[in-house]
């Protein structure tokens, strides 16, 4: 049963394999350029396991020691996970003893995979979701190690390699955009954040953006929910 679920999950994770391998390599190279060897890459990818946060973590590891700052930055950068969890409340009900790992490993990419895929007929859903999650993390760890070791063996200028993260978010944005007819939430996210960046500056804008997005989505609920209902009627 587990073997079958593993074999079924593998092809679905291939896009993440590509993305995570490259992104992981970028992370590993950048980390090694700051003097942190492969053991650190392994530790971070195993325990933190959050793509964008690990890039931000490199900043934190190269700034003066400040745990409170690390805590606040992590909570703001990762606050979006709250919303991923909210959309997985029902889906993870079947996960049983695998549930703690499913929650721990809920990254942007695993989240979008689990949202968009259903296991094929006759495949155990609980194990299918678990293998999607754990395969994704193994790609991420592998990429980080390869990049870190390559970074110590070859010397090359990694300037700009962190654009991999930007590219990944743009790709997810394009995929989401194509997957729905209703673009107001996506446009709100872009617009409000730009405004907050200009008004509040680079230090504090994320938290204000989140409040702004939350308020706007709350105020527009009746409108956006009608839109969603329309979608359901059209597809039905």
């Amino acid at each position: 049963m587990r073997r079958k679920a593993f074999k079924a999950a593998l092809p679905y994770t291939l896009p993440v394999f590509m993305g995570y391998l490259f992104l992981g390599i970028a992370f590993g190279v950048l980390l090694s350029s700051k003097g942190y060897h492969a053991g650190w890459a392994l530790l971070m990818s195993t325990t933190i396991y959050a793509g964008s946060m690990q890039f931000v973590a490199i900043d934190l590891l190269t700034s003066p020691f400040n745990l409170i700052n690390a805590l606040i930055v992590t909570l703001t950068v990762n606050a979006r996970h709250l919303f991923y969890g909210l959309s997985m409340l029902d889906k993870f009900k079947i996960s049983g003893k695998l549930k703690p790992y499913m929650i721990f490993s809920l990254t942007d990419e695993t989240y979008s995979l689990l949202c968009s895929t259903e296991p094929p007929e006759g495949i155990n859903k609980k194990w299918f979701m678990f293998f999607v999650a754990i395969l994704d993390q193994s790609y991420w760890i592998l990429g980080g190690l390869i990049g870190n070791i390559a970074g110590t063996v070859f010397t090359f200028d990694p300037t700009g390699i962190d654009f991999a993260m930007t590219a990944l978010f743009i790709v997810i944005f394009v995929e989401q955009w194509e997957g729905t007819k209703h673009h107001i939430p996506a446009l709100l996210g872009l617009g409000i954040t730009v405004i907050c960046l200009v008004v509040f500056g680079t230090e504090n804008f994320i938290i204000f953006s989140m409040i702004g997005i939350f308020l706007c989505l709350t105020l527009l609920r009746s409108r956006l929910e009608t839109d969603n209902l329309k979608v359901k009627e059209e597809t039905a």
């Binding site: 959050a50 973590a57 992590t74 909210l86 790709v171």
Partner: protein, 110 residues
């Protein structure tokens, strides 16, 4: 490394714990068995779209349109990623290609 080993370990431990907190909290607040409030379900459906938009802007936060090179490398590479992804839908091509292009732009051209 400007941090000592134990300072770096502590920093990583705090980041890991805070990350887990953001992932666990919804499941603690709305434990299984209870019905999830409708408002929360609604947020769960619309927020992912808005949050990815926010993250893109977050990535561009250090770009200045006033100071040279005026964000032109970011604009070129960003448009490239959108275009090639709409065309091919190949994750490696979009992310790998976009990143290589950006690295060439910032290292060799601008």
């Amino acid at each position: 490394m400007i941090l000592t080993t134990s300072q770096a370990l502590l920093t990583i431990a705090v980041i890991a714990a805070a990350t887990i907190l953001t992932r666990v909290l919804p499941f603690v607040i709305f434990p299984g068995g209870k019905k999830t409030p409708k408002f929360i379900t609604y947020l769960g459906t619309v927020l992912p779209f808005a949050i990815i938009g926010m993250l893109i802007i977050y990535c561009f936060k250090s770009v200045s349109v006033i100071v040279r090179p005026h964000g032109i490398p970011e604009l070129i590479a960003g448009v490239f990623v959108v275009a090639i992804h709409k065309w091919k839908h190949n994750l490696l091509l979009s992310i790998g290609g976009g990143t290589l292009l950006y690295m060439i732009l910032v290292q060799a051209i601008f």
